[in-house]
Amino acid sequence: MSIRLENLTVGYDRHPAVHHVSGEFATSSFTAIVGPNGGGKSTMLKALVGFLRPMSGYIDFGGITQQQIAYLPQQSEVDRSFPLSVMDVVLLGHWGKTGAFSPVSRAQYDSAMSALEKTGMAAFAERPISALSTGQWQRVLFARLLVQDAKLLLLDEPFAAMDGRTTHDLMHVLQDMQAEGRTVIAVMHDLPLVREHFPHSLMLARELVGWGATHDVLCDENLAKAAHIASHWVEHAAECEMVS
């Protein structure tokens, strides 16, 4: 049930942002995707969630269906002025079961409430989402993630702009989910945080720089290599000759 990338190339307008990457995310692993800006981290996540089709190569999900994948994009992509309550948003996590039309059951409401308790937002259930701070909003989105009950969690910089306390609490939520057998993949910028909490890392600078135990991947040599690749990116590349 691991997720395998086979010679994966993904990008936009023929420009690959992720170039010929192969490897495997083990079931119930906890992996950070790191690398320079423009290195294809978010692009790889979008390929995993199914927003982008591979240009070549493929992803073997090992039996995980789209309904079992939960995706948390980067900050600020949601219209938070929308007049919805915190509970409304968390209940959306049940979409896989309720779909567009079925009513929400009492049990589903209760599970949404207990998710809010786990992220420390139970007292805010009836508040409008426009009244929340950035950190509180992220806690609400994590509660929705809990409710989604997914087997594969894809998070794009989940701790960017979060303070220490929020990061600490939400990291625990993620670790609990991993302990239940779920696979967690998160794009991360904060390398000390990665070293502290993520057993596995994948370093991406369009090409794969390293993938394995965090201690081995985040070595000086790899970091220098990624920085070197990033400083030599060209806009008008020739066609790639590599056969996929």
Binding site: A70, V78, F82, A100
Partner: protein
């Protein structure tokens, strides 16, 4: 004066037509405003004009045929505007403003070449008392259909409006609901063209929704406040139009304008009062 409401059948029909437009228009308007598509609504409203004008030229003052023309033109412009904003580099609002000016110009040109000044005025500004029983039945059907459809697609529509990425990530077909929604908007604009006139067909949809935003931040309440506002303005506007002998469209829109001004000055959220005279702050 009040008793003429019960005695005069044309006035009764005018009133019912305005009530129908305001009740089904309210939820559509709220969603349009929340999706930042007010201008799009306006464009569609104006796009109806050349369609109704074509219907008028072909079949005279036949309301169903003029309505059908308006429907075709509305759908056409909604589609073309959608394509133009997606595939050209110009910003959406600029393309939309261009489309709506063109639509009005073409419509007025057609009408002034083929109709009298009176026809032109009726079509542009509305003549609610000209609504006949046949049209009233069609309007009632459109309003019922709109409210039924909205009840069915409400959840996916709201999710698609507020968090399209989530919708996509759980495999929801956001685009389908968006198209259904736009279809309902066009239908309701056409429904209102006789009562409000093509120039102001979006009035009972948009202004109540905008005014309601000053009073509440809850979606369900927002729709309720918008509907009540629309109903009130319809009654007052039809009454005003009848007694002062002015077209019904501007009469209703003027009443809506008054409600908007009062809301913007004294409302609970984001109004002049709440911004500049908020009262003493609460405990931290």
């Amino acid at each position: 004066m009040i008793e003429s409401f019960f005695m005069d059948p044309a006035l009764k029909r005018a009133l019912v037509s305005a009530l129908l437009v305001s009740v089904s228009g309210a939820p559509l308007g709220v969603l349009l405003v929340l999706r930042r598509m007010s201008l799009m609504g306006d464009v569609i409203a104006h796009a109806i004009l050349p369609g109704t004008a074509a219907g008028f030229i072909l079949a005279g003052l036949s309301m169903p045929i003029m309505g059908l023309g308006g429907l075709i033109a509305g759908l056409l412009v909604a589609t073309v505007a959608g394509i133009a904003t997606r595939f050209t580099a110009i910003r959406e609002d600029a393309s939309l403003a261009t489309f709506y000016l063109l639509a009005v110009a073409v419509g007025i040109l057609m009408l002034s070449l083929h109709g009298s000044a009176e026809d032109l005025e009726d079509i542009l500004f509305g003549d609610a008392e000209a609504v006949d029983n046949e049209l009233l039945v069609i309007m009632a059907a459109v309003s019922s259909f709109t409210i039924f459809m909205l009840a069915v697609i409400f959840r996916p529509l709201v999710v698609e409006s507020f968090d399209p990425q989530f919708m996509k990530s759980v495999g929801g077909r956001g685009g389908v609901y968006h198209i259904l929604f736009m279809l309902l908007v066009v239908l309701n604009m056409v429904e209102g063209y006789r009562t409000l006139g093509t120039l102001m067909a979006s009035g009972l949809m948009l202004i109540p929704a905008v005014a309601a935003q000053f009073w509440t931040r809850r979606l369900a309440v927002l729709i309720g406040v918008a509907a009540v506002t629309g109903v009130f303005a319809s009654i007052a506007g039809i009454f005003l139009a009848h007694n002062v002998q002015i077209p019904s469209g501007p009469a209703i829109v003027l009443i809506l304008g008054l409600i908007y001004i009062v809301s913007a000055l004294f409302g609970k959220h984001g109004s002049v009062r709440s911004r500049y005279f908020p009262g003493r702050h609460l405990k931290a």
